[in-house]
C-alpha cells in the first residue's frame, strides 16, 4: 500500500501526530512507535535517513525539534518519500507560517486534514500545496 504510517515525534520521543493506513491495535502501535523512536532518534545528522525495520523501511527527516517518520513498503522510493516529507513541512509552513511543534500540537486536526488531502489509502494523491490547502482555507472562512 505504499505508505503505511506517518509519525511526527519530538526530540523527547513523544508522538505528536500518528496517522496509520492499516489497522493496528493499541498495543501494536505502542510497541511499533517505541521501537522506531528508539531506532531513529539515536541516529545523527551524518547518518542516512533510512532505517530497515521489521519487513518495511522507515524514511525519516528531522526539522528543528520534530522528527517526521514515514513507514513505507520496501518497494517505495526513499528519495521520493523524503521529498514528500519536505512537501508536507512546506505545506504546513505555508499554512501556519513558520510552523513549529506547538502548531501541530494544538492544530492536530488541521495537520490530519492536510495529510488526508495528500495521502489516500497509503498512496500519494496530491502534491500541489495550493490544492492541499484549498479545503482548509475554505473551512477556515466558513
Amino acid at each position: 500500500m505504499g505508505i503505511r504510517f506517518i509519525l511526527m515525534v519530538n526530540k523527547q520521543g513523544q508522538t505528536r501526530l500518528a496517522q496509520y493506513y492499516e489497522y493496528l491495535t493499541i498495543e501494536e502501535r505502542r510497541a511499533l512507535e517505541g521501537e522506531i523512536v528508539r531506532k531513529c532518534l539515536a541516529r545523527n545528522e551524518q547518518q542516512c535517513s533510512f532505517v530497515e525495520h521489521r519487513n518495511y523501511k522507515i524514511v525519516y527527516r528531522r526539522y528543528a525539534s520534530l522528527f517526521f517518520l514515514v513507514g513505507v513498503d520496501n518497494e517505495e522510493n526513499e528519495l521520493a518519500i523524503l521529498e514528500f516529507i519536505h512537501l508536507l513541512v512546506e505545506t504546513m509552513d505555508r499554512h501556519f507560517g513558520n510552523v513549529c511543534e506547538l502548531d501541530i500540537m494544538f492544530h492536530l486536526e488541521k495537520a490530519h486534514f492536510m495529510l488526508e488531502e495528500m495521502v489516500m489509502n497509503g498512496c500519494i494523491v496530491e502534491t500541489s500545496k495550493s490544492n492541499i490547502l484549498a479545503p482548509i482555507q475554505l473551512m477556515d472562512k466558513a
Partner: protein, 985 residues
C-alpha cells in the same frame, strides 16, 4: 486554539451550560503539559470526564468529548473501542465539523471485528452521494481505512459512480479507495475496472497521479494481468512531466518488463533517457533501480546505471551513498563486475560512521567472496571486526560464517585454515556467534575427515585457555571443542593435557549442560589413554613372547583402526586372527602402519602418535591420570543436576571397576598373568569400541524416512499443552545429535589425503613446537599467529597503538582488500580440497514457493477477465452486484469440470498470464477455453483483439456475442502471440 476555533463554531447550537463547563481539546492538551499529578492520573481523570460527556444529548458536547478521546487514543494509546456506538452517532451528525470528528474517530478505532460496522453502511452510502464534496471525501477517506468485504460489496455502486464524477477532489480519492475495495471484494473489479482504466487517459494531472498509484499497487501483486495496459503506461512514461507519476510508472514497468521481452526492449531506451536527463535524484534513482532489477540483460542500460550508481556512491550525502550501495547489491548477482569496479568505494564505506551504510557495504563485500579470495577477505574482515563495535563485529562474523558455510562449505578449499579461523573468531572479544561456530566446528568434524587433526588442535587451544571459560558467549563453542577433543582424541599428541583441560577447576563456570559434555569427553579421553596404554604394553609383551597376546593385540588394533566398522567383526576374533598377517616379531608401529591402510587419514598421524605414545603412556602416568580424574570428579557426585551426576558416576564406577585390576596387572607386567590382564583390558576395549563408533552427519530428511510406528498419533493438537507449559522453561536440548555412522563415502576417500598429511606433517610438527614455545613465553608473542602469514605490510590487529589512528586502519584496509580482491589473481592452492561428506538429498534446501493469497488471485482473475475477456460483464453486473455473484458461482462450477483440460492447456500457452488456473471463470472464459483446446496458439491474439475492442465498445449483452463471433474469425489466421498490441512493439 483549535478548541477555541471549534467552540466558536458550535457555540450557537449547543447548550450554554455544558459548553461553558466542558474542557475543550485545547484545554486538555494544555492541561497535559502543565499537570502536576502525573500523566496517567491526569489522563484517567480526563477519560472519566469524557465518559460522562460523551453520553450527552447535546451534539457539541458529545463531539468534543469524542475529539478528546480520539486524541488520547491516537497519541497516548488509550482504548476507545468502548465508544464505538458514540462514534456512529457523531458520524451521522448533520453538521460537518461534528461529522468530521466522528469520521476521524471511526478511521482511528474501527476494524474488521467492530460490531457497529454493520450500522454505518447507510450513513456511508448517504455521504458518498452527498452534494458536499467534503462530506464525500470524509466518507471515502473512512472507507479506505475500515472497509470490510460487506462494506465494499454494498458500496461498490457508489464508488463506481464517483469514478467518473467531474469533481476532481472526489474522483481522485475514489480512485485511491478502489484499491482497498478490490482487495476486500474482488468482484468489484468487474464493476469498476473499466472506469479505472478510462482514468488513465485523463488529462488532469491529479487524476493521473492517483490512478497510476493504484495501478502500481495492483501490478505489484500480479503484474501479468496488467500487460494489456502497457501502451497506456508507455504513453505516460513518454509524456508525463510529473516525477511522482513517472516514478510510479517505472515501478509498473519494472514488474511488467520481465514478463514480456519485447516490452522491455521498447521501454529500456525511454528509461535511460529519463536517467540521463532528469535533475531529480528520486527519479534518477528509480530509473537505476528499475534497470538493475528488471533490465539487467540490457548491457548499455546497465552500464549507464552503474555510472550513475557510482555518482551516488561518491556523494557526500549519506542517503545517496546508502541507496547506491543498495542498488549495487541488487545488481551484484548478475553483474559482479559492477561491484568490482567500485570495490574501493565499497570497502571505504565499511568504516563509515553510519551502521546502515556499513552493513550494506559489508553485504557487498561478501558478494565478492569467491574460492580464490575467501582466505584474504576473511582475514581482512576478521581483523576489521576486532576494531569494530560489538554490533558490527558480530555482523561481520555472522556474514563470514554464513558465506563460508554456504552449500556445505563449497567455498572452502583449505579446511585447516577455516577451522583455525573459527578458533580465532571465537577469541574475538565481542564474538557472540557461539551457536553458529559450535555447529560448524562439529559439522566440519563429521563431514571432513582430513581436517580432524587440525580441528583437534584448535579445540585443544580453546580448552586449554582458562581465560575463555569466563565468557558466557563462548560456552557453546567450548562445548563443541570439548566434544571434538573427546571424539577425535586419537589425533592428540598429548591426551593428558586434554584431560587436564577438561577437568580444570574453572569449568565450574560453565553451564551444567556444557559441563556434562566436558565430563563425557573426559571419559572418552580417559578410555583412549587406557586403551593405548594396554595396546602398548601388550605390543611390548608381544615382542617378547608371541602367541596369544599378539593375536589379541592385533585384534584390538584392528578394531581400533577400523573405526566405524561393524561391531560384529569383533565377535569373530578367530577369523581375524587367521586372516591377519603373521609376522611374529612385528612391532606395534609396523602393525599400525599396515593396518592404517584401511583408514587413510590415520596414516600420517599414526606413526607420530605411536612414537609419542611410547613415551607418554607409562605406568606412572596412567595411575596419575586415574587419580587425577577421581580427584576432579569426586565433588561432583554431590551435584543436583541429573545429567552431570550420571556422567560423573559413569566415570567413577568405571574407574572403580578397572582400578584394582589394572594396578595389579600393570605391576605384574611381563609376567603374563593373562587371565587378570584380559579382564581389565577387555572392559577397556569394549568401551573403546563403543566410543570409536564414528558419528556422521545426519540428513535433514532422515527423520522422514523412519516409518511411523502404528498407533502413534503425531498430529494431535497440542495447543493445550502450550498454555500449560507457557512459563516452564524448556531445558537445553541435547547439544549434539548423534548420527549413525556414515559408511558411504568412507570407502572412497581420496588418495590425496594421504599425500597431504605426509606433506603437512613436518609443518604441523613445527607449529606444534611453536605453540608449545608460545605457551611458555606467551607474553612475548602477539596473540594471533596468523598475522605473520598474511604479510608484513599489514600490522597485527591486536597491536594497541593502531587503535589510536583509525584513519590509517581504513587506508590499510582498503589497500589490502583491493589487493586481495584483484580479479586476475590465480588461486594458489597448496592443497587439494578434501572430501566433504554430503548427503544425497538431505543438504538440499527445499524452497517451497509461497502461494499468493487467494484474494489477490481473485482480483487478478477478475482483472484478466475484464481486460482480456470482454467488458460486457461490467455493465450487467454493475447494476446488480448480487446477481453478479450468482453468475460467478456458475462460472466456478464450470471451472471445476474443465480443470484438467485447463491444466493441459497451460503448458501450451507461452506467456503465463494467459491462463490462471485459480482465477474465476465465467461463461465467456469457458468458451475461450474450448476454443483453445482446438488451437492453443491462437488464443492470445484473439484475446488481445477482444480486449482492444472491448475498451472502446459500450457493453451490452448482445454485444458480447458479437465480440465472441468476431474473436472467432481470426482464429485460423493468426499465430501465437502474447497480448501486447502491436503498435508498442
Amino acid at each position: 486554539m483549535a478548541g477555541g476555533v471549534f467552540s466558536s463554531y458550535y457555540s450557537s447550537s449547543s447548550s450554554i451550560m455544558e459548553t461553558l463547563f466542558q474542557r475543550t481539546l485545547e484545554d486538555l492538551i494544555k492541561g497535559l503539559r502543565l499537570q502536576l499529578i502525573g500523566e496517567s492520573a491526569f489522563v484517567s481523570k480526563a477519560i472519566e470526564e469524557i465518559r460522562r460527556e460523551v453520553k450527552s444529548t447535546d451534539p457539541h458536547t458529545k463531539s468534543t468529548a469524542l475529539q478528546k478521546l480520539s486524541y488520547l487514543a491516537s497519541l497516548h494509546f488509550h482504548d476507545m473501542s468502548w465508544a464505538a456506538f458514540h462514534v456512529v452517532e457523531v458520524m451521522s451528525s448533520s453538521r460537518f465539523f461534528h461529522k468530521r470528528i466522528g469520521y476521524h474517530a471511526a478511521s482511528l478505532s474501527f476494524h474488521d471485528d467492530t460490531p457497529v460496522l454493520l450500522l454505518i453502511t447507510n450513513q456511508l452510502r448517504k455521504d458518498l452521494a452527498s452534494t458536499n464534496e467534503f462530506e464525500v471525501s470524509l466518507a471515502l477517506e473512512c472507507l479506505s481505512r475500515i472497509s470490510t468485504p460487506d462494506l465494499a460489496r454494498d458500496l461498490t455502486p457508489e464508488i463506481f459512480t464517483l469514478l467518473s464524477t467531474t469533481k476532481i477532489l472526489v474522483r481522485k480519492k475514489a480512485i485511491s479507495v478502489v484499491l482497498r475495495v478490490f482487495a476486500k471484494y474482488p468482484d468489484a473489479v468487474r464493476v469498476c475496472f473499466k472506469r479505472l482504466v478510462e482514468n488513465l487517459d485523463s488529462s488532469d494531472p491529479q487524476i493521473l497521479a492517483a490512478v497510476v498509484g493504484v495501478f502500481c499497487e495492483l501490478a505489484s501483486q500480479d503484474p501479468g494481468s496488467y500487460l494489456p495496459l502497457a501502451p497506456e503506461f508507455y504513453r505516460i512514461l513518454i509524456d508525463s512531466k510529473n516525477n511522482w507519476v513517472l516514478i510510479k510508472v517505472l515501478k509498473i514497468f519494472a514488474k511488467l518488463a520481465p514478463l514480456e521481452p519485447r516490452l522491455a526492449k521498447r521501454v529500456v531506451e525511454p528509461i535511460c533517457d529519463h536517467m540521463r536527463r532528469t535533475g531529480a535524484k528520486s527519479l534518477m534513482f528509480e530509473c537505476i533501480r528499475t534497470v538493475v532489477s528488471s533490465f539487467s540483460e540490457y548491457e548499455s542500460a546497465v552500464k549507464l546505471a552503474v555510472v550513475k550508481i557510482r555518482e551516488l556512491l561518491v556523494d557526500d550525502d549519506p542517503n545517496l551513498k546508502y541507496l547506491g550501495l543498495q542498488a549495487l547489491s541488487v545488481i551484484a548477482p548478475k553483474h559482479l563486475w559492477a561491484v568490482l569496479e567500485n570495490k574501493e568505494v565499497v570497502i571505504k564505506w565499511l568504516s563509515d560512521e553510519d551502521p546502515n551504510i556499513k552493513l550494506e557495504s559489508l553485504r557487498l563485500v561478501m558478494t565478492m567472496v569467491s574460492e580464490s579470495n575467501v582466505v584474504e577477505i576473511s582475514r581482512v574482515l576478521v581483523n576489521f571486526s576486532l576494531k569494530s563495535g560489538p554490533g558490527f563485529c558480530n555482523e561481520i562474523l555472522g556474514s563470514i560464517l554464513f558465506t563460508c558455510s554456504r552449500n556445505v562449505y563449497e567455498m572452502i578449499i583449505d579446511f585447516d585454515w577455516y577451522v583455525s579461523l573459527l578458533g580465532e573468531m571465537s577469541r574475538i572479544p565481542h564474538c557472540q556467534k557461539g551457536v553458529e561456530i559450535e555447529n560448524q566446528l562439529i559439522d566440519i568434524g563429521m563431514r571432513v575427515k582430513d581436517v580432524r587433526p587440525e580441528l583437534l588442535r584448535v579445540a585443544r587451544d580453546l580448552l586449554i585457555d582458562p581465560a575463555l571459560l569466563g565468557n558466557p558467549f563462548l560456552h557453546r563453542i567450548l562445548a563443541a571443542a570439548a566434544w571434538v577433543s573427546g571424539e577425535y582424541v586419537e589425533f592428540s599428541r598429548n591426551p593428558f593435557e586434554l584431560i587436564e583441560a577438561l577437568l580444570q577447576p574453572r569449568t565450574n563456570l560453565l553451564p551444567l549442560s556444557v559441563r556434562a559434555v566436558y565430563i563425557h569427553s573426559a571419559f572418552k579421553v580417559l578410555i583412549f589413554c587406557l586403551h593405548s596404554y594396554i595396546l602398548q604394553s601388550e605390543s611390548i609383551t608381544s615382542s617378547f613372547s608371541d602367541n596369544l597376546v599378539l593375536g589379541v593385540s592385533e585384534l584390538v588394533l584392528k578394531r581400533n583402526m577400523l573405526e566405524g566398522s561393524d561391531l560384529t567383526t569383533c565377535e569373530a576374533p578367530s577369523a581375524h586372527r587367521s586372516e591377519g598377517f603373521n609376522p611374529r616379531n612385528q612391532s606395534y608401529e609396523d602393525l599400525s602402519i599396515e593396518n592404517g591402510g584401511d583408514r587413510t587419514i590415520n596414516d600420517g598421524q599414526t606413526s607420530t602418535r605411536a612414537f609419542s605414545e611410547k613415551n607418554i603412556f607409562t605406568y606412572e602416568s596412567i595411575i596419575n591420570l586415574i587419580n587425577q580424574v577421581e580427584l576432579a570428579l569426586g565433588p561432583l557426585t554431590g551435584s543436583h543436576d541429573a545429567e552431570l551426576l550420571e556422567r560423573t558416576r559413569h566415570i567413577l564406577c568405571f574407574i572403580e571397576l578397572i582400578k584394582g585390576e589394572i594396578t595389579e596387572c600393570l605391576v605384574q607386567k611381563g609376567k603374563t598373568l593373562e587371565s587378570e590382564e584380559m579382564k581389565a583390558s577387555k572392559i577397556i576395549k569394549l568401551m573403546s569400541d563403543a566410543f570409536s563408533e564414528e558419528l556422521g552427519p545426519v540428513s535433514v530428511s532422515a527423520q522422514q524416512r523412519v516409518p511411523i510406528p502404528e498407533g502413534l498419533v503425531l498430529k494431535e493438537n497440542l495447543d493445550d499443552l502450550e498454555t500449560i507449559c507457557a512459563d516452564i522453561q524448556v531445558p537445553p536440548s541435547n547439544l549434539f545429535s548423534l548420527g549413525s555412522p556414515y559408511y558411504g563415502e568412507e570407502v572412497g576417500v581420496s588418495p590425496f589425503g594421504l599425500q597431504n598429511k605426509e606433506e603437512s606433517e613436518p609443518s604441523n610438527e613445527a607449529t606444534f613446537l611453536l605453540t608449545e614455545h608460545r605457551k611458555l613465553h606467551g607474553l612475548y608473542y602477539l596473540a594471533s599467529e596468523k598475522n605473520e602469514i598474511v604479510g608484513n605490510d599489514y600490522p597485527p590487529a591486536n597491536e594497541p597503538k593502531l587503535q589510536d589512528n583509525p584513519k590509517n586502519d581504513t587506508e590499510d584496509l582498503v589497500k589490502l582488500t583491493v589487493q586481495s580482491l584483484a580479479t586476475n589473481k590465480k588461486p594458489n592452492h597448496a592443497k587439494t580440497r578434501p572430501v566433504v561428506v554430503k548427503l544425497d538429498e538431505g543438504d538440499l534446501v527445499t524452497i517451497t514457493a509461497k502461494r499468493p493469497e487467494t484474494k489477490d488471485d481473485l482480483v487478478s482473475g477478475a482483472v484478466r477477465e475484464v481486460l482480456l475477456g470482454s467488458d460486457t460483464r461490467t455493465a450487467t453486473s454493475q447494476s446488480n452486484p448480487s446477481d453478479k455473484s450468482s453468475s460467478k458461482r456458475k462460472g466456478k462450477e464450470k471451472l471445476n469440470v474443465d480443470r484438467s483440460e485447463l491444466k493441459e492447456n497451460l503448458g501450451d500457452s507461452e506467456t503465463p498470464k494467459q491462463e490462471n488456473p485459480s482465477s474465476r471463470k465465467n461463461k465467456h472464459r469457458t468458451i475461450g477455453k474450448e476454443r483453445r483446446h482446438n488451437s492453443p496458439g491462437k488464443i492470445g491474439k484473439e484475446r488481445e483483439e477482444n480486449g482492444q475492442k472491448g475498451k472502446q465498445k459500450s457493453s451490452h449483452r448482445h454485444a458480447r456475442h458479437k465480440a465472441r463471433h468476431r474473436a472467432d474469425a481470426p482464429l485460423n489466421v493468426v499465430s501465437q502471440t502474447p497480448v501486447i498490441p502491436d503498435f508498442l512493439l
